[in-house]
């Protein structure tokens, strides 16, 4: 067992606080640049780099600050609030908005601020609940089509040859159909449920994104950085998805936003024709149902349609704002 020695209090050497020495070292540190050239260069370069990053972030955000884009973002925010918090926002809950009540087609009054439609259902509540089905179908479907469309498009453009030819022929065939018609056919085959509607739109969106990214990848394929990556030993998949893809993603992002609006419009069209899930609340369906009573109860058709217009307008405004913000020509503005 060893004995640990500990210094007693009185033997500890104290460091006297050398104020004068610390003042001198502070002066030397801060005024060294007057004497020694190039001593603060590294500091300055790092600070400049940080400043440039900050300034470019500010420029990007300032390009988003146009009043129209902010309106678009606010509209989207409101619609998402309607969709997520529908039971708390709307005056009636889902069962009351979907039930059979008295007072059908009544004009706007105290109980029903926007009037009632078929079976006495409140128009405002149905407007709010309708956001759920539209957003629930649009967002996952488009995400799916973007992912798979990008994968197929990058593979087709990068390899070229017969893979390109086959994938392009398949996209041509799928794009030759009007989208609404093909979606209607899918739904009538698979059955009128919301999962099938999502699948139909997911499949229909893939050829569009494949074509979109194929053009960019074809251009990027012959650029020097691809060759450099290959020389450095990168395999094909790595080049495709780590090098080329991030540079070609910009039109995809813009198209994504526009496409959400497009899918919501298309969905409303299908619902208008009757190809929707009958247990859910859909704006297009309400519009079609109210058409018979258009002259006596216009509020039943006109308000749901207005909601479709405003929702799609919000996404289009955001898409326009994004496109202007990401435009490479405006980088120095």
């Amino acid at each position: 067992m060893e004995q640990t020695y500990e210094l007693e209090e009185k033997f500890k050497i104290e460091e006297k606080e050398n104020t004068f020495g610390s003042i001198l070292s502070w002066i030397w540190r801060n005024l060294k640049f007057l004497v020694v050239p190039g001593s603060r260069l590294e500091e300055l370069t790092t600070r400049q780099v940080e400043y440039e990053k900050l300034v470019s972030k500010r420029k990007m955000i300032s390009r988003f600050k146009s009043i129209l884009t902010i309106t678009g973002i606010v509209i989207i925010f409101i619609v998402i609030t309607f969709a997520v918090f529908a039971p708390w926002v709307s005056p009636y809950n889902f069962d009351l908005a979907n039930g059979v009540l008295a007072g059908a087609w009544s004009p706007p009054n105290a109980l029903h601020p926007l009037g009632t439609g078929k079976f006495g259902r409140d128009v405002l509540a149905r407007m709010i609940y309708g956001a759920r089905s539209s957003l629930t179908v649009a967002l996952p479907a488009i995400t799916f089509s973007v992912i798979f469309g990008v994968i197929f498009g990058v593979i087709a453009a990068y390899y070229g040859g017969w893979i390109d030819a086959i994938i392009m022929r398949v996209t041509d065939i799928l794009l030759a159909f009007p989208g609404l018609i093909l979606a209607a056919v899918f739904i009538s085959i698979l059955g009128q449920r919301i999962e099938n509607i999502m699948i139909a739109y997911a499949i229909l969106g893939v050829p569009y994104y494949a074509r979109l990214i194929r053009g960019n990848v074809l251009q990027a394929r012959s650029l020097p950085y691809v060759e450099a990556a290959r020389v450095a030993g990168a395999g094909n998949w790595r080049i495709m998805f780590r090098h080329i893809l991030p540079n070609c993603i910009q039109p995809i992002i813009i198209s994504f936003t526009f496409d959400i609006g497009g899918v919501i419009l298309s969905l409303a069209g299908l619902a208008f024709l009757g190809f929707n899930d009958p247990t859910l609340i859909e704006w297009g369906n309400d519009l079609a149902g109210g058409r018979l009573f258009l002259n006596t109860a216009p509020w039943a058709s006109l308000w749901p349609g207005f909601m479709i217009l405003v929702t799609v307008l919000g996404f289009m405004l955001l898409g326009d704002g994004l496109r202007d913000a990401l435009d490479p020509r405006l980088k120095n503005l």
Binding site: F177, P178, G179, I181, V185, G269, L273, R291, L309, L313
Partner: protein, 339 residues
């Protein structure tokens, strides 16, 4: 001569697409519920002997590949079967050919108005960038792109059909007017040939609202694309040179810039044509016009096998022809494209 070989080569690339579309339709329509034989049987309970006879007549008992080739052969030879549920027993060829001219009327009117005014509006919007004219036009274009076709139709019906009562809300003719003698199937042309001008004016009067509805939306999309491509053209060096040489601004736009901005715009016009058909389906449903858009939707709804096949064939042929026309226009507008 080289134009013909260019067309021929374009047609050749279209052949696999057409075959692919027909194959896809064959697969999809076979998967749809509904019995195609019922069109040939008289009403009431189907007689088993007659049923088996027709199954054999229609080759429905042969292997699926043989049925596929009969399907392709039938489509190209005009034997499109009989309708199952929409108009029971009526020949599909007659059904489609009766309604096709009405949709073509609407589509051509809308396309011409939308293309002409859309490119002009886009050019005006781009040349007065960020001024009040541009802002208003851009706002209208944005609304036009975001509004559903049927909502605009219902609004127009309510406003102009009911409140103001300037235009008829539905239909393509007033009830007591008959049809002109059949020459081409196009109501306007037939009425002009037979001299019944009141039918022509009545038809146009009924078509104003649907054509406005469809063309407004197509016009909005074309305006946006035309504005965007015109802005790109206006940044080019040769425009700067023209201005530096003292060219008047209107000449810069009309003589130098406008034609160069047309190529991406024509692509969008061509792409919009596929959308025009689905838009026509919605417009026809809203305004109660009897065209092939509504027929298509009814065929899908009531799973009418023969009508669906015939319609998809017609739509594909039209699509191929439109693409050919667009390609010819490309070659005409851009002298750099060699046949």
């Amino acid at each position: 001569m080289s134009m013909m070989s260019y067309l021929f080569r374009r047609l050749l690339t279209m052949v696999p697409v057409v075959l692919g579309v027909l194959t896809l339709t064959f697969i999809l329509s076979r998967m749809m519920p509904g019995d195609p034989v019922l069109a040939y049987l008289p009403a009431g309970k189907p007689d088993p002997v007659l049923y088996r006879y027709w199954v054999h007549e229609l080759w429905l008992d042969r292997p699926i590949i043989v049925q596929y080739f009969k399907y392709i052969g039938d489509l190209f030879s005009g034997n499109w079967g009989k309708s199952v549920s929409i108009a029971k027993g009526q020949d599909v060829w007659e059904l489609i050919m009766l309604r096709l001219p009405r949709t073509i009327d609407i589509a051509i009117f809308s396309m011409i108005i939308a293309a002409y005014f859309g490119t002009k509006t886009g050019v005006i919007s781009a040349s007065h960038r960020n001024k009040p004219r541009d802002t208003i036009l851009r706002g209208m274009a944005l609304v036009g792109v975001s509004i559903p076709v049927f909502y605009l139709g219902v609004l127009l019906q309510y406003l102009f059909g009911y409140i103001l009562a300037w235009f008829p809300a539905t239909g393509y003719k007033t009830m007591d007017y008959g049809d002109p003698a059949f020459v081409t199937g196009f109501r306007m042309i037939d009425a002009l040939i037979s001299g019944e001008l009141y039918i022509v004016t009545d038809y146009l009067y009924h078509l104003i609202l649907p054509v406005f509805c469809l063309s407004f939306i197509t016009l909005a999309g074309i305006t946006r694309q035309s504005r965007s491509s015109m802005l790109e053209v206006l940044e080019q060096d040769y425009i700067r040179t023209a201005r530096a040489k003292g060219c008047a601004e209107k000449d810069v736009i009309h003589i130098h810039a406008q034609k160069n901005s047309l190529i991406p715009t024509i692509t969008v016009i061509g792409l919009n044509f596929a959308g025009l058909l689905s838009g026509a389906a919605l417009t026809e449903t809203t305004f109660g016009l009897k065209g092939i858009g509504k027929l298509l939707i009814d065929a899908i709804r009531q799973t009418d096998y023969w009508v669906l096949n015939g319609l998809v064939f017609v739509i594909t042929i039209i699509f191929v022809l439109i693409n050919l026309v667009i390609d010819i226009l490309y070659a005409v507008l851009d002298p750099r494209i060699k046949y």
